[in-house]
Amino acid sequence: MKAISIAIKNLRELWREPLLLGLLFIFPILLLAFYFIAFSKTNQSLASFLKILILNHDQGFPSTASTVSPAEHLIRLLDEAEYEGSPIFEVSLIENRENAEIDLREHKATLLLIIPEDFSSSIIAAQHGADIQPIELTLVGDPYTDNYAFTRSILDDYIAAFIHQTAGWQENLTLSYEFIPGTGTMSDLDFGIPGLIVFSLMLITMITATTLTREHVNKTLQRIRLTNASSTDLLLGVTMAQMVIAAFTVPFTFGAAWLMGFRAYGSVLLAIVIGLLLSLSVAGLGLICACFSHSDSEAANLSATVGVLLALVSGAMYPMPQAPLFTWGGRVIQVYDFLPPAHAAEAMRRALVLGDTAGDIIYELIMLSILGLIFLAIGIVFYQHFQLRKK
């Protein structure tokens, strides 16, 4: 009960401190805006982002040189497609699939259309009334890029209309969809938003550290210690306050991202749970920072450095290079496996962007819980030793 009163007091104080509150909530939104400006596309024609690559394996058909093959016809059709006077697609012909996949992975293009060897001959045969096997066109892409679904649906319509028009087929055309290796790779934006939520959660380290340091410097901590409140009440109260802030931070940052156009495939509730688990580590880090700070500003600087550094190093904001340490239970354990934000970012991405369930990310959730408890325990031991021990 006393822990709840302490948590309420801390939240009340934070609520009345616009600067700190603003930093906590506005800073991630500013970063979010930066992300969208940097990585999203606005006010551009469709062609500027409906970029398709075409790998034409078509062998053509026996004909005079002046005749345009159906494959070339399709390519020209796509290239010349317009909407309100502006091109719809930006078409590039490429020579091999490997290069195309690199472009797709780097988001230089949205889709790769592979035209099979027998495309033209099959259509010509169909035009001459032959009963032939359906031909297969392949579309390769990364389903988690921004424009995949949109591009695919427009392209589907164009191809279907072309086939119907040239071969008269309604159903004999098969469109095969493939994803580039490592399906689920994300755009900078997709990669960034969940990481940004984790980043905003790491900023709560600053709240814990400054709140506790202020209590210590202003001697209000002594006042609490004079009462019947135990150190468990105090630290539980502080942790609870952090968890409440985390529970608000996740939907707040997510909501801001949503308003800017980010769409999640997964559960926001699961993201909040991830945020709550991460807040255990955050509270622990805040306690540790508070042990070594002698003023508000010192606490803010130290905790912001620790929080931001951990968020960056753990790969929450940008992918980090592989850093394997050992293999355990068939899993390669990396340096990042010991950093809570790494698991939080991974879990957050998979939950929000890939739509994974709690069962799918159970490893991340367990690791987050274990690391959270370890960090919190270290924080509590440190704080008990450095600040609460009677001298």
Binding site: K2, E13, N218, T227, K390
Partner: protein, 317 residues
């Protein structure tokens, strides 16, 4: 003495080589106002921090009603309310919220908290500021709220560390009246370096210096040790020589009988039972030694004089 509510026994606290409090043994009786008097750095705050459980003594013990303060019984600790010397408030909580929070920390019921908090705000003239954040209050109001924080759980023993420090005259009067008021039904321990404050408020006074208890008695009894009566302070324009000092001392002692003569560089302090009657003869003696007084001040004996006698220096030194 009536029932002892708080007792310290051989209380000792060291900070490195510095002995802040040394073998302090004292008893505080129920219902008394107990003054802990001493200059800054004498060990007063260290003593009360140990009395309320904030500091761990290196040696000795503190008991309340015979039970150890740090024995793990929270009800013992809640019998003490502490008003620290510094203003210790949460800047962004309102007056009522501060009192409410502390009440919650002492496990008081919401009804009890509300009743006690409202009464304290009224008694300390803070009703109008009930819903104002502490940071918006004047220094005097903050001090009064600081005092209220020590009382919200209705403790049996109230420890006040320099309660009048930093107060404007108006707030000082209010706080002093309030302390006198609570002293009617609570035991009050107050630390001060202000002799007037201690003399006016305390039933008994313990004078400590360099962490050591020098004397402990009622203010009247302490002053009697010097010889009841008056103090004549005579200032001179310039310092006088040592030979002259000794001659004057001898002459005045001969003249006024039981007397304390304190001759510092350019002043002379004479403690005597009836200094006013002796004054003409004293002046004549000075004239005999060719000493021309610059200013003469006659006052009653104070605890400061006791302190000077005990330590050879003033409280402010």
């Amino acid at each position: 003495m009536t029932q002892v509510v708080l007792q310290t026994e051989n209380l000792t606290k060291k900070y490195g080589d510095l002995v802040a409090v040394k073998d302090l043994t004292l008893q505080v009786a129920e219902g008394e106002v107990f003054g802990l008097l001493g200059p800054n750095g004498a060990g007063k705050t260290t003593t009360i921090n140990m009395m309320c459980g904030l500091l761990k003594p290196d040696n000795g013990s503190v008991t309340i009603h015979g039970k150890p303060l740090n024995g793990g019984d929270p009800s013992i600790r809640s019998r003490v309310g502490v008003c620290p010397q510094e203003i210790v408030l949460w800047e962004r909580l309102t007056c009522f919220e501060q009192l409410q929070f502390i009440g919650q920390m002492y496990d008081l019921s919401p009804q009890k908290i509300k009743h006690n908090a409202e009464k304290l705000l009224e008694d300390l003239d803070l009703v109008e500021k009930r819903n104002k954040q502490a940071r918006t209050l004047s220094g005097g109001m903050q001090r009064r709220l600081n005092l209220a924080m020590a009382l919200v759980h209705d403790p049996e023993i109230v420890v006040l560390d320099e309660p009048e420090a930093g107060l404007d005259p108006q707030s000082r009067v209010k706080v002093r009246q309030y302390i006198q008021n609570i002293a009617r039904h609570k035991t009050v321990i107050l630390t001060t370096h202000n002799m007037d404050e201690a003399e006016r408020t305390a039933d008994r006074v313990a004078i400590i210096d360099h962490g050591v208890l020098l004397v402990l008695d009622t203010p009247q009894a302490l002053k009697r040790r010097l010889g009841e009566g008056d103090v004549i302070e005579i200032n001179f324009a310039s310092a006088f020589e040592e030979a002259t000092v000794n001659q004057v001392k001898a002459a005045l002692t001969h003249l006024v009988g039981k007397v304390l003569v304190d001759v510092s560089q350019n002043s002379l302090t004479v403690h005597a039972l009836d200094a006013v009657s002796a004054l003409p003869a004293i002046l004549e003696t000075l004239k005999t030694h060719s000493l021309q007084p610059g200013g003469i001040h006659i006052r009653q004996n104070t605890l400061e004089d006791v302190f000077i006698q005990l330590t050879g220096r003033r409280l402010r030194d």
